[in-house]
């Protein structure tokens, strides 16, 4: 085959991947030399990359023209001619009307509810991310000048972008969480609201009381719905954020407990631990680890 025929032959194979005879001939040709394999890989890459190209081209010059019309010109100081004063008055009226519209729309809220039975996430206008469990709904300010989110029901994990100028507020039932930039989990239950800090520091406000929570040990607090009482138990509850962070950390914990947490996270009914190893204390850190690998690591650390 000459070079032209080969390219034609490769295209034929790429457009007809289900044809066994062609694929067999292709494999045979590929086995002939490494050079053939290189040529095939390059052509295939080109062929596939070209397939994702949008049918309409993008014209950057036109795009810039459109964009620059939206960009407000810099203010200039000039003496105004009489008709310009009329024009300026009209603009002023327009600005007042616009200002009124802006005042009302800045108070608008956008409500978002998870549409499916899966974990879902959205990115807020400031770049902060919210992960939500199924059945969660929340509302946030449309113009996100004041960073404010209301958790209406369910459970959400907030990964807040740092902005020392603007605090980020989450209200959930009777409690308010104030932060500048950190990551935390909020859950509304029937009788209480729970907050866990995964990273950084937050302040929790409820019924005139305030509690500062930091990540690490003592990072959970609950607010009772009945009497606004804040409870602050000991212990590190970071692993309860694993549904959003995919991070599980165990420090010097009994194997039995580790197995329970792992089973819940990976939705397995039970992870068996040998009788004599149940109270063995282990340290383990899993980040974005698939189930099989996690179980293998657990087995290895446990030495069972």
């Amino acid at each position: 085959m000459n070079n032209n025929d080969i390219t034609g032959f490769i295209i034929d194979c790429l457009t007809d991947p289900g044809n066994r005879d062609k694929q067999a001939a292709l494999n045979k040709w590929l086995e002939e030399s490494e050079e053939n394999q290189h040529l095939y890989a390059e052509l295939k890459q080109l062929w596939e990359a070209a397939a994702d190209v949008p049918p309409m081209p993008f014209n950057a010059d036109e795009g810039w023209k459109e964009l620059s019309q939206q960009m407000a010109p810099a203010a200039r100081v000039k003496r105004l001619s009489p008709w310009r004063i009329v024009a300026a008055a009209a603009v002023l009226l327009f600005l007042i009307a616009g200002g009124w519209w802006w005042q009302t729309s800045r108070n608008a809220w956008i409500t978002y509810a998870t549409p499916t039975g899966d974990v879902d996430s959205i990115t807020l206008p400031d770049g902060s991310m919210i992960h939500m469990k199924a059945g969660t709904s929340l509302a946030y300010r449309k113009l996100f000048k004041e960073r404010e989110v209301k958790l209406l029901q369910g459970e959400a994990y907030f990964d807040v972008v740092k902005d020392p100028q603007r605090q980020f507020l989450v209200t959930a039932d009777k409690s308010t969480v104030k932060v500048l930039g950190t990551a935390f989990n909020v859950r509304i239950e029937n009788t209480f609201t729970e907050v866990i800090v995964f990273e950084g520091k937050i302040s929790l406000h409820s019924g005139g009381k305030k509690l500062v929570l930091s990540s690490g040990s003592g990072n959970l607090a609950t607010v009772s719905r009945n009497d606004d009482e804040i409870r602050h138990p000991i212990g590190n509850y970071s692993n309860q954020c694993a549904w959003a962070t995919n991070e599980l950390v165990f420090e010097n914990e009994e194997a039995e407990n580790v197995a329970k947490v792992l089973a819940a996270h990976y939705h397995i009914s039970e992870i068996k631990v040998a009788e004599n190893l149940r109270h063995k204390r282990i340290t383990l850190r899993l980040h974005n680890t698939p189930q099989d690998e996690a179980l293998e690591i657990f087995g290895a650390v446990l030495d069972q």
Binding site: T7, L46, V53, P54, I122, T123
Partner: protein
């Protein structure tokens, strides 16, 4: 001012947004808008919407420039912003968000891979302009419009063999010119 938009650092870009420097802003747009359009198209699969996402990102950067801090690599910052905006737009319109897009949003470790892919696409678009008219037409119908060889043959009133032949010519042309580019680097 011969400096092109690719060499603008994150600090320079942030400073340009703060001081509303339209010249630098235009350079950033000229350098990255097409790549961002290709990336948005990859997620939203709709040219009009992809263009809208690109334009709204730049409008946002210009309007909110005072509050924006670009950190790290400008290209990666823009890729992340475009991906977030694309996903939000899809959700707002209750359209399906692909697993790939979500995966990429959560873990953008494949940034370099996707950059290579988008730059290759940009090169293909540019080089396709240099193909002979008939050859280009057939190539665009096959790749950009996604028609099967038989459909192209029918539409243009030519044989399927001619379609294959022209596609082979186009691919060889692209490959040779891309290789030239590599040697020059």
């Amino acid at each position: 001012m011969t400096q092109d938009g690719y060499h603008i650092s994150a600090e320079e870009a942030t400073e340009a947004l703060r001081s509303r420097n339209a010249g630098v802003f235009q350079k950033i747009y000229a350098a990255y808008s097409e790549e961002l359009f290709l990336l948005a198209y990859r997620w939203v699969k709709d040219d009009d919407l992809a263009k809208e996402v690109v334009q709204s990102l730049f409008a946002h950067l210009w309007e909110k420039g005072q509050q924006i801090e670009i950190t790290g690599n400008v290209r990666h910052y823009l890729y992340r912003s475009i991906t977030n905006r694309s996903i939000n737009e899809l959700k707002r319109r209750s359209r399906n968000v692909s697993e790939e897009a979500l995966q990429w949003q959560a873990d953008n470790s494949s940034l370099h891979e996707i950059t290579d892919h988008l730059l290759l696409q940009k090169e293909i678009i540019r080089l396709a302009q240099g193909l002979a008219p008939r050859c280009r037409e057939i190539f665009l119908l096959s790749r950009f419009e996604g028609l099967e060889p038989a459909e192209i043959a029918e539409r243009l009133g030519i044989t399927v063999n001619t379609v294959y032949f022209q596609l082979a010519v186009a691919l060889k042309y692209l490959r040779n010119h891309l290789l030239d580019g590599k040697k020059l680097q």
